[in-house]
Amino acid sequence: MPDVLAVESLRKEYGDLVAVDDVSFAIGDGESLAIVGESGSGKTTIARMIIGLERPTGGRISACGNDRSTPARSASKRRQRGREVQIVFQDPYTSLDPRHSAETAIDEVLRIHHGWQPERRQARVAELAGLVGLDDRQRAVPPRSLSGGQRQRVAIARALAAEPKILILDESVASLDVSIQAQVLNLLADIRDATGISYLLISHDLAVVRQLTEQVIVMQKGSVVERGPTGAVLDDPRHPYTRLLRESVPRPGWQPRRRISALPVGD
């Protein structure tokens, strides 16, 4: 299978801090990969470099065979990149234009990326809204009149409107209520079945990673410490850090272990 996204020896420095250090991975057509790690691991920085919000210090990124390690030189190149990779952020409260209804938000993307006539756009808006399960009322109202789960559906529909080959999900279901999170995860699985899209899931939630991806890389302080098929890595973690992550997940009978012991008084 050809790779739809390839990242080679990616590096990002902020002054003396190495946020991402020699990270490589590839996602095949229709495959899904998760990047797992805690705050400061560099996982979100990688996403931002892939979509062009940050410029890599070193290394290469290519999507659909096209290099995107350096900024796009023209508006048409930028649009082309938008049709390759889209992103859904964690917080649907801040990532949507507060004045735009779902319809307007989706229509804008269709106009920019496909240049279709209004009738065709309208039909596609209805199709996309139906795909993510937004009803007629929800399509017409601004984000403030929607719940968190509904807003995240709008963000997903908007990202899909560009018909990308890769969708980056940056903690996209982390802030949702459990009952809504399950709906959105099922929806993402349906969309993948229907469109053959690839997901790059960035998450700290190992159960969500297990549900949605086949491959996983585990990052700590900017470096990859473990990689492999998701099931194998989670069932039989090899690196001590992956084991620690796995043991930190609450479960029945869980006894959280204290790593930092109490200090003697007056120390």
């Binding site: 399950a182 099922n186 930190s248």
Partner: protein, 324 residues
């Protein structure tokens, strides 16, 4: 054993909306009770009512009794003493600490102003408590921005315990933290709870976390408690269909499921809930016509409590393993 805290028929009205529609539970001395719910369920409002921190204009009915005394009737000295006995820890430590004052200043404020402890003694107590949570004394001279989120939450816990409280209200204390830091903070909380004989009301959206760290777990939906159950039994043998559905909806770290068992619709908040029907019925896989005709009461069943008309009928069919 008599209860340390008793909440009975607690109703809170904000403007025209009813946020809490009758919350009932009790905590025994030294017991950890989890309070679990989705957005709008009223779990945080319950904690604020207990802490006497309801927003301006909120009206509250029902009783909150601490050690037999009506909390809503406390004032002056009684209220100050209550605040010393009931400490709170919140989700975002940075929002609850003054950024321009040093950690030591923050930690010793209550002791010096309400406890009448001398400054040097207060600092010594604070240093000792910081040690308990694994932070050295040097942190007393630091400012909040110099500490990570996990360290700051440990400071908040240490500060909360300085007045030797008997009950700790912890509202999503680990939600903003990384999983390994969460495990650390929970381990510290468990240890201090044992050492100090402290009762805990642990508020979270995470059923698995509550069940793992609390003796009993109360589940809230639309401004009411719908189930209270021994945590050990909650997953295998829940008493309310909502608890069962919540547990079944979570993805499983041990396997990939063909489809998650999502709960249709969205969670209701208290002010949207119908007055004379079960609020969960429209989303429930076990609803019957009767569920839409009356509001079920929170009734005892097999050692727990369930607010479901069909609870007795559904016994043994709701557990995760039963494939509800």
């Amino acid at each position: 054993m008599t209860n340390l805290l008793e909440v009975a028929g607690l109703r809170v009205t904000l403007g025209a909306g009813t946020v809490l529609r009758g919350v009932d539970f009790a905590i025994r001395p030294g017991e950890a009770l989890g309070l679990v719910g989705e957005s709008g369920s009223g779990k945080s409002m319950t904690a604020r009512a207990i802490g006497r921190l309801l927003p301006r204009g909120a009206r509250s009915e029902g009783t909150i009794a601490f050690d037999g005394a009506d909390v809503n009737k406390l004032d002056g000295k009684g209220l100050r003493s209550y605040r010393g006995q009931v400490a709170m820890v919140f989700q975002d430590p940075r929002a609850h600490i003054n950024p321009v004052r040093r950690i030591g200043d923050f930690m010793t404020e209550a002791l010096r102003t309400n406890g009448g402890v001398r400054k040097a003694d207060a600092y010594e107590l604070a240093a000792g408590m910081l040690g308990q949570v694994g932070l050295d004394t040097g942190n007393l001279a630091k400012y909040p921005h110099q500490l990570s989120g996990g360290m700051l939450q440990r400071v908040m816990i240490a500060a909360a315990l300085l007045t030797s409280p008997r009950l700790l209200l912890a509202d999503e204390p680990t939600t903003a933290l990384d999983v390994t830091t969460q495990a650390e903070v929970m381990a510290i909380l468990a240890e201090l709870r044992r050492d100090f004989g402290l009762a805990l009301l642990f508020i979270t959206h995470d059923l698995e976390l509550a069940a793992a760290v609390c003796d009993r777990t109360a589940v809230m939906y639309a401004g009411q408690v719908v189930e209270i159950r021994d945590s050990a039994l909650l997953h295998e043998d829940p008493l309310h269909p909502y608890t069962a559905a919540l547990a079944a909806a979570r993805p499983d770290i041990g396997r990939t499921q063909a489809r998650l068992r999502a709960i249709p619709g969205r969670p209701l908040s208290g002010f949207e809930a119908p007055g004379h029907a079960c609020a969960f019925a429209p989303r429930c896989a076990h609803d019957a016509p009767g569920c839409y005709a009356e509001l079920p009461a929170l009734a005892g069943l097999d050692g727990g409590l369930s607010r479901c008309l069909r609870a007795a009928q559904l016994r043994g069919t709701l557990g995760v393993t039963a494939g509800a």
